[in-house]
């Protein structure tokens, strides 16, 4: 499941209690629901925590793009936290990396 947690200005959403370590067709709808709710509640700085994510499929990327657009329209920003080099390669190779802000931790 995806669990949202407040940290200062940020709302951090993390995949917990899952064996898959993936954001893909099996759980993207759930992540979109959590993101939509967070956006509706007025959160402007939302981070998706990738520290335990080793795989993202194209529906996962599409879902994050949808949420990013929605949040941008409301003056907010969707960031990606603690992504591995391997998964970052998926964002760069598909040319969507430019739409997200990447954080090593919530201070940078």
């Amino acid at each position: 499941m995806f669990k949202p947690e407040k940290h200062d200005d940020f709302l951090i959403i993390k995949l917990v209690e899952s064996k898959s370590n993936s954001i893909d067709i099996s759980n993207i709808e759930e992540l979109k629901e959590v993101l939509n709710k967070a956006i509706e509640e007025g959160n402007k700085k939302i981070l998706v925590d990738f520290s335990n994510i080793t795989y993202i499929d194209s529906s996962g990327l599409g879902g994050l793009m949808d949420a990013m657009k929605q949040l941008k329209e409301k003056g907010g920003e969707l960031g990606i936290l603690s992504i591995s080099k391997d998964v970052l390669e998926v964002f760069t190779a598909t040319k969507v990396a430019q739409f997200f802000k990447f954080y090593k931790n919530i201070n940078m």
Binding site: Y55, D57, S58, S59, D86, V87, V90, A93, T94, V96
Partner: protein
């Protein structure tokens, strides 16, 4: 009875890479599905068939990484791809640095027998042909991924003479495209 075969045709027009996208990847087993994401992200929604297209792309790359390059990260997998709405076609070419799929003809013979018994409803015999294994098979591949691949890539799986390069072609029917428009 129609049995799909792996084809060897060095001069197939499906090896023409003009206008195709291209990337090369190190043979990292853990990254295979992420490589497939990079490629499938370009596909129109109606080509994706939920995640079937992505899975099948992943299988072809896996064959190159595991069987071709033997998981040697210093060896590269080269991939070209195109998703053509006008031709209703997905095409991917995958090349590895290995010695080539030496057992290709044996695999065709094996699959032919397997399908023969399937069509004859001879399930006892078919059980002997459930899983294709060679001395190069690993516990992880089960020897079966090509059975599904050869059905999915209905426009053909065409190998070069060395058999270390394969062009996989999927032609979509109008019905498939119409059905896929409505699912995500």
């Amino acid at each position: 009875m129609e049995v799909k075969k792996l084809i060897v045709d060095e001069n197939s027009p499906y090896f023409d890479t003009t206008g195709m996208k291209y990337m090369e990847f190190p043979s990292k087993f853990k990254q295979i599905r992420n490589y497939a994401t990079i490629i499938a992200f370009d596909a129109p929604e109606e080509f994706k068939m939920k995640n079937l297209l992505e899975q099948q792309i992943s299988e072809v790359i896996k064959n190159a990484v595991v069987h071709g390059n033997k998981n040697d990260e210093n060896k590269k997998v080269k991939v070209w791809w195109e998703f053509n709405r006008d031709k209703k076609m997905a095409r991917i070419i995958v090349e590895d640095e290995g010695e080539g799929f030496k057992d290709l003809e044996k695999w065709n013979e094996f699959n032919e027998k397997r399908m023969k018994y399937f069509y004859e409803n001879n399930f006892d015999k078919m059980l002997q042909y459930i899983s294709y294994r060679t001395e190069n098979s690993t516990e992880m591949d089960g020897g079966n991924s090509l059975f599904a691949a050869v059905e999915f890539w209905n426009g053909g799986m065409i190998y070069n003479n060395k058999k270390n390069k394969v062009a996989c072609v999927k032609i979509y029917t109008d019905e498939e495209l119409e059905n896929n428009k409505n699912i995500k």
